[in-house]
Symmetry: C2
Subunit: 214 residues, 2 copies
């Protein structure tokens, strides 16, 4: 696998989609697929698919298309899914709880090793078999366990200071659900912001726009 050094973030963001579609093709028993066929089911152009996959060395064979299972395995490796990294989740309110229970971290590149909250009524309870620790214990826990990533399900007000603290404790990556744009001013850390509210407002714009035109 000859990985290109400067792969654009939009190519990277499409990789999980390839991964999902290929996993479905495997389930359906598909052996080989052409970039043309793959482009149809994924809603991309065939040339885009070839370009995307060429960033990672290219996997197709002229005239034979892609071997679905090999491509799936390669993309899985590229995404790092074969070497899960340690992650902790902070804030076990409705959203944090749902993410801890609903999200299959193990198949997405991470192992969830700790849940934290500062609410005394919640600390010590369990979610899906995992105990909730006091955020006061974060320092000690991080020094011992060295998690790479933190999932932030806390209010905006706490996000900035908690993120600073975690960065100080060696956390390099954040999956951020708080309404705080974490990446700004931190070029040294990796952040995926999931601004669910922004997505809902975008939907609002687009529906209103269609209704107005009707």
């Amino acid at each position: 696998m000859a990985k290109n050094e400067n792969i654009s973030i939009s190519v990277i963001r499409r990789l999980p989609r390839y991964y999902r579609f290929l996993s479905e093709l495997i389930q359906q028993g598909t052996d080989h697929i052409s970039s043309r066929e793959l482009s149809k089911i994924m809603g991309l152009t065939a040339s885009q698919i070839r370009q995307d996959l060429n960033c990672f060395g290219g996997f197709g064979q002229q005239g034979y298309g892609y071997h679905v299972e090999s491509l799936f395995r390669e993309i899985s490796k590229i995404l790092g899914l074969d070497h899960p990294l340690k992650a902790i989740l902070i804030g076990t309110g409705n959203l944090g709880r749902a993410i801890a229970l609903h999200m299959e971290f193990e198949t997405k590149g991470f192992t969830l090793i700790g849940l934290f909250d500062r609410n005394p009524e919640i600390i010590g309870k369990k979610i899906g078999g995992m105990q909730i620790y006091d955020t006061e214990e974060l320092d000690e826990f991080c020094q011992r366990q060295r998690p790479h990533a933190a999932v932030l399900c806390i209010p905006k007000e706490s996000a900035e200071s908690l993120a600073e603290r975690l960065i100080g404790l060696g956390v390099k990556a954040f999956w951020n659900f708080s309404h705080y744009d974490l990446a700004i001013g931190h070029e040294d850390i990796i952040v995926e912001n999931v601004h669910m509210g922004d997505s809902l407002m975008t939907l609002s714009y687009r529906v209103h726009d269609v209704i107005e035109k009707e």
Copy 2:
């Protein structure tokens, strides 16, 4: 407000961010802000901000910058937040429940008017004061209430057929949390896919990439 007819989706996707940052500025008591100052706190360039806002007619005054509250009100209107549309939520498992409880629909352009599930143990119970209906009642409910949008928090296996049914019932927009790429093959409906797993895998790629280089 002279709205440009062909506003790109990337400009639209930035609007909720403007909305959030302006709302913070109002809370902080800021009256006016230059595109330069706004660009700093938002991590965009000043020219990008001017370009974005010019798509909607432009709101700044040369030399005076933007009046924060007017701009906030205008963006709120552009996003359609002043005229919430009816939405229903289907699938009240961990994630659906969290979204129903956590997300402030009213401030994001929608009014949540119904929750649905097909699990007999859940039907009839309440989430945040709202009753959960049987998905069997969807047809009658939609004919009576005419919801514009549906939030899909159901497994991939059920998503396609349920979406077809809802489209038939007049639902135009989907906020889709299922691992199914709804928009493909439906150019007539509006979909915002929230593929949380894709976001987590993207984070995995990016952290692994940094670690490898260290």
